[in-house]
Structures are given as structure tokens and as C-alpha cells.
């Protein structure tokens, strides 16, 4: 089995550093998307034909065997595509950046204030959870990918729009076959094409970006933090591409939720924005690693969480590659009140 066929079969090493593997990653992503969309179109067409059988088109043309084969092929195409996509996403979510073996005793660190069983010494300040032991620094922060929700949303929008376009095309074809043209349906189908193209493009782009950038690892010398404290940070960004710009920003946000009529709205405002690190032109030859300082402003507000009002601190790692959308990962941190 040669490299390409093995690669396509196993879906491994997507977006590796070698040029051919990087392009192969894009090819696999494209094939996965085409497979899912193709299977979805086949499924919709088959179901549309089956439901139309009772009225206009005779199902006698399709035997039960043929109907079953079509459904199986559609399910298989969707399954293979989803398997490839899910495999890539899962690898990114679970991969350790430096391919370094993790120590056997890695576990959740029980922080001092979590030992207090009854009440927190810092009311309204969220507990500093989600921190594990680091390799370079004592603590590793757990990141969140704000693009994941957008990617899932774009995927659902793609499927819905493709399904709608397929049904419209099917309807137009049926009327054309009967000797007339339903211009309204044809017009609607033509109008749908840009929507479908845009939603599929957006989803594909989000998916590729999600897979290509790899996991960011951010480690910190002390945690939780307090106003006036200066700590060391270590960033390790494996990536599979040459980064045009890598930037790390400390952010403090006010987040408020309010009722407006029957709607509930949320508004966010950045109140502290401090650039911690910035570098242009990072090659993809080796995992990028750097260390820098972070100082929490002396008179800054601590983290605060209530039902409708929050003050949240986070470290944003963002990167951009020419021709690709900007990629961002957020690392929430807890800033406690200063020691008494």
C-alpha cells in the first residue's frame, strides 16, 4: 500500500509538515466534504423520489433492491466523510503539541482553595479549575476554541442549504420531465446556489483552519493569579503551517446579560487589553516555543461571576496565515482578590 492510499485510508498525518502531506491533508478534507455532501444529496434525492412515488412518478422503476442500494451508498458516503472529519478533529483535540510522552502521574492539581469544603474564601470568584500540571511551567492552562461552535453551525447550515437546493432541483427536474418548467422553483434554485456555495465554503474553511493549526499549549508559573502579580508564561504552538503572525493578548471583559422585551441579550466589553507577545513570520519547521512575562495590573478587578454579570479574564492566542482566516484560542484564567 503506497503512502497516498494508506493516508487516504487511515486519515492520518493530516497537515503534516512535509509539503505533499500538507496538500494531502487539504485533499482529504475536500474528499471528506464532497463525500458527506454527495451522500446527503443522494439521500435527499432518494427520499424525494420515494415520497413522490405515490403521486406522480412510479416507484415501479426502482425496485426495493435498488432503493436499498441507493440508501446504503448514501449512508456509506456520509459515514466515510464524517469519519474522516471527526478523526481529524479528534486528533487535533487530543494531540500533545510536542509529541512528548506525558508523565504517568499527570493528574488534576487540587488547588489550595478547592480544599475548603463548605464555602469559598472568595465569594463570587469562580474556582480556579481546569488546570493540569505542566511540562515547562508548574501549571498548564486549558484552552477553549471559540471557532468550534461556528464550525458546527456552518456545517449544519451547509447541510440544510444543500438539502434545500437538492429538493428544488429535484422538483424542477420532475416538472421538466413532465413537459413543463416551473420557473418559480427554477428561480428559487438559482437563488439558492450562492447561499449553498457560501455556507459550504465557510464550513470547509473553518474545518481546515481548525485542523491545520494544531493545539496551543500555554503554561504558567503561578496560578491562580492576583492583581499586581507578575508571572512567566510559556507558549508552545506546533502548527503545520508558516504563521504570518502569532500574538498573545491578556484580556479582561465585562459581560452583562439583560432582558429587552422578551429577548435576553448579552453584551461584552473589553476593559483591559494588554499585548503579551507578538512575532511575525514563524516557520513551520519545528514546534514554536517562547516564554514571556505577564503582569496583572495592580488595581485591576478580580474575576467575578454572578447570574447576569461577569468579569472574566482570559489569555487569547491568535495566529494568522496568508490567505487563511485568523485563528484564535482562548485560555480563561482566574484572578483572585489580592492577599489580605
Amino acid at each position: 500500500m503506497n503512502r497516498w492510499s494508506w493516508f487516504l485510508y487511515a486519515g492520518r498525518k493530516a497537515f503534516s509538515r512535509a509539503a505533499w502531506q500538507r496538500w494531502a491533508g487539504i485533499v482529504v478534507g475536500s474528499l471528506a466534504l464532497v463525500s458527506v455532501l454527495g451522500g446527503f444529496v443522494l439521500l435527499v434525492v432518494t427520499i424525494a423520489a420515494w415520497t413522490a412515488a405515490a403521486s406522480a412518478v412510479s416507484l415501479a422503476q426502482w425496485s426495493t433492491m435498488e432503493l436499498t442500494i441507493r440508501l446504503v451508498i448514501a449512508a456509506a458516503m456520509i459515514g466515510i466523510g464524517v469519519y474522516w472529519m471527526a478523526g481529524s478533529i479528534w486528533k487535533v483535540a487530543t494531540l500533545t503539541p510536542g509529541r512528548k510522552t506525558t508523565s504517568a502521574d499527570r493528574q488534576e492539581i487540587v488547588l489550595s482553595n478547592e480544599r475548603v469544603p463548605v464555602s469559598s474564601p472568595f465569594p463570587t470568584v469562580p474556582a480556579p479549575r481546569g488546570v493540569v500540571r505542566g511540562d515547562v511551567m508548574p501549571y498548564r492552562l486549558t484552552g477553549a476554541n471559540p471557532d468550534l461552535g461556528w464550525m458546527i453551525g456552518a456545517g449544519i447550515a451547509s447541510l440544510v442549504s444543500v438539502g434545500l437546493l437538492t429538493v428544488l432541483c429535484w422538483f424542477v427536474w420532475q416538472t421538466y420531465d413532465a413537459g413543463t418548467v416551473d420557473w418559480w422553483a427554477l428561480g428559487a434554485a438559482v437563488c439558492c446556489i450562492p447561499v449553498v456555495a457560501w455556507s459550504v465554503y465557510r464550513f470547509f474553511l473553518k474545518f481546515l483552519v481548525f485542523v491545520a493549526f494544531g493545539p496551543s499549549r500555554l503554561e504558567i508559573s503561578q496560578y491562580p493569579l492576583a492583581p499586581g502579580q507578575t508571572v512567566q508564561l510559556s507558549l508552545r504552538q506546533p502548527g503545520q503551517m508558516r504563521l504570518h503572525l502569532l500574538e498573545v493578548v491578556l484580556l479582561c471583559q465585562e459581560v452583562v446579560t439583560y432582558s429587552q422585551g422578551t429577548n435576553v441579550r448579552t453584551e461584552t466589553r473589553n476593559v483591559v487589553e494588554q499585548r503579551l507577545f507578538r512575532q511575525r513570520g514563524i516557520a513551520a519547521a519545528e514546534p514554536f516555543q517562547c516564554e514571556f512575562e505577564m503582569a496583572i495590573p495592580r488595581d485591576a478587578m478580580h474575576s467575578f461571576s454572578a447570574d447576569s454579570n461577569r468579569i472574566q479574564w482570559k489569555i487569547i492566542v491568535s495566529a494568522s496565515v496568508r490567505g487563511w482566516p485568523r485563528f484564535e484560542r482562548a485560555f480563561p484564567i482566574i484572578v483572585q482578590p489580592p492577599p489580605a
Binding site: 465585562e254 452583562v256 446579560t257 476593559v271 454572578a306 468579569i311 482578590p337 489580605a340
Partner: protein
Amino acid sequence: MSGVVTKRATARIVVSDVAPSYIPGSDLDCVIRVEPSPGAAVKQIDARVQWSTCGKGNRDCGSIFQDRIELAPSDQSLVKTLRLTTVMPRSPVSYRGFLLQIRWAIVVRVTMVDGTEVVEEYPFALTARGDSPNSPTGA
């Protein structure tokens, strides 16, 4: 010093010995004096030390001290003096932001026998160093 929400002024509330600001862990020690108007009778007195948010978002609040005193019929027309003592917590500290503010206050609610209520708030600040409340920029 005080914001008053009164349905009908049937009692006078005076809170004394309240400092303008406290630091976390310090003692808040004040005296509450409730003086019913002539002919009026006080049924119960609620006192609480609470923080609350104000600004664009829905209001959140929480209290660190809460006490309620039901007065005996023989005491309902007399001047009542209470002492409130509590230790200030470490958070949340007072804050003046763009979208939200966090304020601390002593809230005294007096319920009269006829059902009317007199409420007074005595605001103060809880700050890390006993100075002005935190601002977003840390200035």
C-alpha cells in the same frame, strides 16, 4: 449618604458609625436606630449587609449578613437601637466599570404594624486597600 424608598414615612432610620470604605477581613460595626413616628408601631426590623450590581445587566445581589427582629407588642412604639457587627469578606470588592458596577450597602427595612415599609440604604465601599473602588483600567 442614604437613598430612601419610603411608601409612608412612619419611622426614622439612622445608621451611625459606618465608614466610607472597608478592607476585606475588617470588622463592620455600626449602630442602627429606629424611631417610630408618634402613634406609629414597628412590627419588624430587617437589617442586611449586601452587595449588588447595577448597570446595563440584570441586577444580581448577595448578602453576607442578614437579621430580622420581630418586636413584642409592648416594644412596638419605642425607639429601638440595634448593633450590627460582621466581618467583611474578601470579595466582591467595589467596582466601577463601563457596563456594570458593584456596590456595597447596609440595608435596613422597617415593617410597620399597618403593613407599610420604610427602607434605607447606607452605601459604603469594600476595597482592597481601603481606597477608592476598582476601575476597569486599574487607574
